[in-house]
């Protein structure tokens, strides 16, 4: 049976080396999660700028997930360290401009954590689902 409840749309920026591979592993292991994520592969979580996150919210995403390698494991040595700092700042900025911080999520998932990926996907989806559709930044609002 298909569930007919509202499905939020979440843009997920996943680093190629860990989290994207983790998402693949979730598939290989057939861990099921809600069909809410639209995954965009980026080389590294360090590639993700505030601009990209804001743009996603502006285009109508109900939530954004950024996921990279565990701190210390970045394929590019320190990309996720930059990401961590940058995205923490962004989170407070979002709060400041009136966007629920729960819409924006950051996680660290390795290539071997398919199960964890599915869990994060579920958690983030449920969090965003609870908030309802995002309307604040949508252009036509």
């Amino acid at each position: 049976m298909e569930t007919k409840k509202w499905e939020p749309r979440i843009v997920a920026f996943l680093c190629n080396w860990c989290s994207y591979a983790g998402a693949d592993l979730a598939g290989v292991s057939r861990y099921q999660y809600p069909p809410s994520l639209r995954i965009i592969r980026v080389p590294c979580s360090g590639r993700v700028s505030a601009n990209m996150v804001l743009d996603a919210l502006k285009s109508g995403a109900d939530g954004v997930l950024v996921s990279g390698c565990h701190p210390g494991d970045c394929h590019y040595i320190s990309g996720n360290m930059y990401a961590r700092r940058r995205l923490a700042l962004l989170k407070s900025l979002l709060e400041f401009i009136g966007i629920e911080p729960e819409r924006f999520n950051v996680s660290w998932i390795s290539a071997s954590e398919g199960k964890q990926f599915a869990e994060v996907a579920r958690e983030v989806t449920e969090k965003v689902r609870a908030l309802g559709p995002a309307r604040h930044l949508v252009k036509d609002f």
Partner: protein, 1020 residues
């Protein structure tokens, strides 16, 4: 030897043969790959999933098969058999007979019309007779070559010329040639690699199993096909008699293994415990958790990397494990089956099941047996191809090597390692003829598409039923046709199959496409394949994008077909939006420093160093201690009975005197820069070196219960238990006892009793893995004690005896010699105490269900092999990963067992996982063979997706210079802007995200492309 030939014959197109062929073809040799069936892939292609990662077997295998099939330097000869091999190493003359296919492979498009119309239904041998195919057939959906063949045994026309001939009438390309004849090929090669694989044991000779009499008794190979989506039931688990979904399934272990009386096979087949657990897990995934799965076994042998964790998970999930041997399978009502077995206490029990799976063992195929005879290659006592302890892939015939299950039952990673090791032996023999007989790939010139508007082709994959079973592929394809820039959209059963790929190149040319989207599986495995297709079609390979509608869609939304289809459309739309904004990029490359760094001078490190040095590559061998040999100096003999010392002395002498090896004692690696082709490494003494590749072989440590140099968990079963190790001289670890064997064996001959405790420090919560080597080592020592004093009582306290493969022989011998085996479990740990100055050991005998006490003269602890504490630091320097158990983590546990995910870095030996010496040597040779695929080239491809500065926007603030982890960005003092060294840039994009003025971007991964994908994601 005169100038050797630069080509190699590989016999057998299973995973081992394919790997050996690829390693050789990628390191400067021409390969003739001879396969007796109509397609390569071997047994692995018949498997559904592989343990311990549950990867889909065909999915991970397929890219390798395709690479093999497309490789310019691999000549694939299917339906072929080797008739003779004459000559000597470096110059063999081989005669190959190729049976007629009756289908012209040049013309066949694999459209399947012939099979559709063929009136003759025959048992499908790929599905082990469980289903039917036609007399004209495709071996399996992802077959390479993807070409039909006619089975002459059944074809009506061939048996009665003049009749039928339907296929020839309907074939749209006239590919059928019913008059095809046998061909004879005479090949000149320098070396021969045998990879003929195995056959599954035929259990019909074992009456008690009921196989052949009761339809619901199947073999494990049958069961793989019943689970497989490309199998006779399309992956719906059904039992043969009535197509009912079985709810109670039993697995019987050791069918045709460890059974001298009935099956004539004394050895253990090594893989069956794991595959049975895997099948039980997967069966419950298919048919629901209410399926009961019961495994009847003697010893649970989960001795490989991550195997024990898999076993633990399976038993936590409710799979039932019974330590019992079933003596009869008899029929019950409705096709059900009754098993009669004795439990461990000897009580006879009966239980009813819907279906019984026989975990059949491995044996050498009869055709391989004949081949060995024709080639003069010797067999061992178990009828496998005989090899040498210290040269694990070398046969008795010089220049002829063997790999895979033909020399001993083994799993896929071990076969892959040996395949690379066999490639190494051939490289070593023939390195003088490198690149002499190879051809180089010429791509057509690339069309300049800069000025063209996007003309995008979208190819949507069914992946059999992997995608199409959930996502409405036709609907997605129709949808794609309407997207901006798309000129053509097609759906394909398997987009990665050779024929679809050829078709894709044609479509690109015919429709003047300048960009391509493939919606299928993950770019992580398949992007290179499709990108090459673009190049073949004259398009820059970066004008490509994949939509991952399998791993990240159909597989994770299996019960939501509508939503999954919607998501697939979104993903395709995103990919189209992104690819439309991509530009052609240059193909960068870096020159290769043709030298290697090997870290660790144990047996693995030394073997790896010699393997490369013998091919003419300079090697720096770094050893933290001041001597060679690592742990091996402490070993007395291998399980095959060969003394280690003379071997080690000889190996060390070769290493020290080799003109291409520079040994550096007393130093470690302190810093690493660069990447594949040009590493720059600094050692602890401040010296530095440039090298193209690195092999890490830093070994492991033995767990010493008495030395608490690491954290101990008091709550774990062993807790703070030290068994008086270190406190009493009569308590040894295995290696300490080996020292006595080496130095003063006679000191033990007076002893009356010895007790061994197995699994000390292994298979417990704080160290959950099995240390693989200790059972064999302990039993071999017990036998040595019996040699010293036949009257000595030797008692082994064990949990499971894991003398896998041919090591089982030692276990049999031990029991025959009266060595006593008493099992213990974690609820009844052996206790060791002191009594009157001596030792007292108390254990609980589960068979007698009572406590037993021993007063041994000495106690031996089969203690764990543990990873070195400092291994993480080294891994980090090379950007390599560790597994949960803190062993080094290879790129892929099944198919890339010696590669790290970091290109140009390889691993070997105990830092990967505990293993005996023969396996460590094979792995070291494999690492060297893989390294040679880099060192044999003048340059390797470098990153093309690099950062780029827009000098008009750059304010020269210097943030990117500080951020870049590779020092690839520097300030230009004159222009006051940042400049990128594309040779150093790795394309991580940290600078892009950090730039305040939007002045730096990543080619094809810029804001333009990414934001286009984001926006597309939100469109309806």
């Amino acid at each position: 030897m005169a100038a050797p030939k630069g080509s190699v014959l590989v016999v057998g197109g299973g995973i081992a043969g394919v790997q050996a062929a690829l390693d050789l073809a990628n390191s400067g040799f021409y390969v003739h790959l001879v396969e007796s069936t109509a397609a390569i892939g071997g047994r692995m292609a018949q498997l559904d999933k592989t343990f311990p990662t549950n990867d889909c077997s065909a999915c991970i295998l397929s890219p390798k098969l395709v690479e093999c099939g497309r490789h310019l330097n691999i000549n694939l000869l299917t339906l072929s058999d080797v008739e003779s091999v004459e000559g000597e190493p470096g110059a063999f003359r081989v005669v190959v007979r190729q049976r007629p296919r009756y289908v012209d492979t040049e013309k066949c498009l694999a459209c399947g019309t012939c099979a559709e119309k063929c009136p003759k239904k025959v048992p499908d041998d790929f599905n082990l007779g469980l289903g039917k195919r036609k007399a004209v057939y495709l071996r399996f959906p992802q077959a390479v070559p993807l070409k039909y063949a006619i089975d002459p045994e059944y074809c009506i026309y061939i048996n009665k010329p003049g009749r039928c001939g339907m296929c020839a009438k309907v074939c749209p390309t006239g590919a059928i040639n019913l008059e095809d004849t046998e061909k004879k090929h005479v090949l000149d090669v320098g070396a021969v690699i045998l990879a003929p694989g195995f056959s599954a044991f035929d259990p019909s000779v074992l009456d008690y199993t009921g196989y052949g009499r009761f339809p619901n008794v199947v073999t494990s190979m049958d069961f793989e096909r019943l689970l497989s989506p490309s199998g006779p039931t399309e992956g719906h688990l059904q039992r043969p008699s009535d197509k009912k979904e079985p709810k109670r399934i039993a697995w019987l272990q050791c069918i045709g293994s460890r059974d001298i009386n009935r099956a004539c096979h004394g050895y253990c087949s090594s893989v069956c415990c794991m595959y049975a657990i895997k099948q039980a897990v997967i069966a419950r995934e298919h048919a629901g958790k209410d399926v009961s799965a019961d495994i009847f076994y003697m010893d649970m042998r989960t001795h490989g990397k991550e195997f024990e964790a898999y076993y633990n998970r399976a038993s936590d999930e409710g799979i039932a494990f019974h330590r019992a041997r079933v003596h009869t399978v008899s029929p019950a009502a409705d096709g059900d089956l009754v098993l009669r077995y004795a439990d461990e206490q000897g009580r006879v029990r009966e239980e009813e099941f819907d279906m019984v799976v026989l975990s059949v063992g491995l044996e050498l195929d009869s055709r391989a047996l004949d081949l060995a005879g024709r080639l003069g290659v010797a067999l061992d006592a178990d009828n496998f191809i005989a090899t040498d302890t210290f040269r694990p892939v070398v046969t008795n015939r010089p220049g002829v090597y063997v790999c895979g299950a033909a020399s001993e039952p083994k799993d896929i990673p071990q076969s892959v390692m040996e395949a690379s090791a066999a490639a190494l032996e051939a490289q070593r023999l023939l390195h003088g003829a490198r690149w002499q007989e190879t051809r180089t790939k010429e791509f057509p010139p690339e069309r300049d598409v800069h000025a063209e508007p996007p003309r995008i082709g979208v190819f949507v994959c069914h992946c059999g039923i992997n995608i199409a079973g959930v996502v409405d592929v036709k609907d997605v394809t129709e949808y794609a046709k309407g997207l901006p820039g798309v000129v053509i959209a097609q759906d394909n059963l398997f987009t990665c199959s050779q024929d679809t790929i050829d078709q894709m190149a044609k479509t690109i040319r015919e429709h003047g496409l300048n960009r391509v989207v493939v919606a299928s599986c993950t770019p992580r495995t398949h992007e290179p394949l499709f990108q090459e297709t673009l190049r073949e079609a004259g398009i820059n390979k970066f004008l490509f994008e994949m939509a991952n509608i399998r791993d990240q869609d159909s597989w994770v939304h299996q019960n939501q077909p509508e939503q999954a289809t919607k998501k697939a459309k979104d993903l395709v739309r995103m990919a189209v939006a992104k690819v439309a904004r991509k530009q052609p990029l240059p193909y960068n490359s870096v020159p290769v420093f043709k030298s290697a760094l090997v870290v660790g001078a144990g047996v693995a490190g030394m073997s790896a160093a010699l393997s490369l040095a013998d091919q003419g590559f300079p090697v720096t061998l770094v050893e933290r201690k001041d001597r060679l040999g690592g742990h091996a100096v402490k070993f007395y003999r291998t399980w095959q009975g060969a003394e280690v010392k003379p071997f080690l002395e000889n190996l060390s002498r070769q290493v020290l005197s080799h003109e291409n090896i520079n040994v550096r004692f007393g130093v470690t690696v302190s810093d690493v820069e660069g990447s594949v082709g040009r590493f720059h490494t600094t050692l602890s003494d401040g010296s530095a070196l440039d090298h193209g590749v690195a092999i890490l072989a830093v070994g492991a440590e033995s767990y010493k219960p008495g030395k608490g140099t690491f954290a101990r968990d008091a709550s774990s079963p062993w807790g703070r238990e030290t068994f008086f190790h270190g406190a009493r001289p009569d308590v040894y670890t295995l290696l300490e006892l080996d020292q006595v064997f080496i130095k003063d064996p006679s000191s033990l001959s007076g002893a009356n009793q010895a007790v061994f405790i197995h699994c000390v420090g292994s298979r417990i919560p704080e160290r959950p893995y099995c240390s693989r080597v200790c059972c064999t080592h302990a039993i071999d020592q017990a036998l040595k004690l019996k040699e010293l004093n036949p009257d000595m009582d030797v008692i082994m306290l064990y949990r499971d005896i894991r003398t896998y493969g041919q090591r089982e022989k030692l276990y049999q011998e031990a029991r025959a010699k009266g060595i006593l085996f008493v099992r213990y479990d974690l609820d009844h740990l052996p206790k060791v105490g002191e009594e009157g100055g001596g030792l007292v050991v108390q254990a609980h005998d589960p068979v007698l269900d009572m406590d037993v006490r021993f007063n041994p003269d000495f106690l031996v602890l089969a203690s764990a092999v543990r990873p070195r504490d400092d291994v993480g630091g080294l891994a980090k320097l090379f950007k390599c990963a560790l597994s949960e158990d803190n062993f080094m983590l290879e790129a892929h546990m099944k198919l890339r067992p010696v590669d790290f995910a970091t290109d140009g870095v390889y691993l070997a030996g105990l830092c990967h996982y505990p293993k005996p010496m023969d396996e460590a040597i094979a792995q070291a040779q494999a690492a060297a063979a893989r390294a040679a695929t880099v060192l044999s080239r003048d340059e390797v491809p470098a990153e093309s997706v690099t950062a780029e500065v827009d000098t008009r926007k750059c304010t020269g603030c210097g943030v990117c210079v500080r951020i870049c982890p590779y020092h690839a960005v520097s300030p230009d003092p004159a222009l006051r802007v940042a400049v990128v060294d594309t040779g150093l840039c790795k394309g991580c994009g940290a600078c892009v995200a950090g730039c305040r003025s939007d002045a730096i971007t990543l080619k094809n991964m810029g804001n333009e492309q990414i934001l286009a994908a984001v926006d597309a994601a939100m469109e309806e």
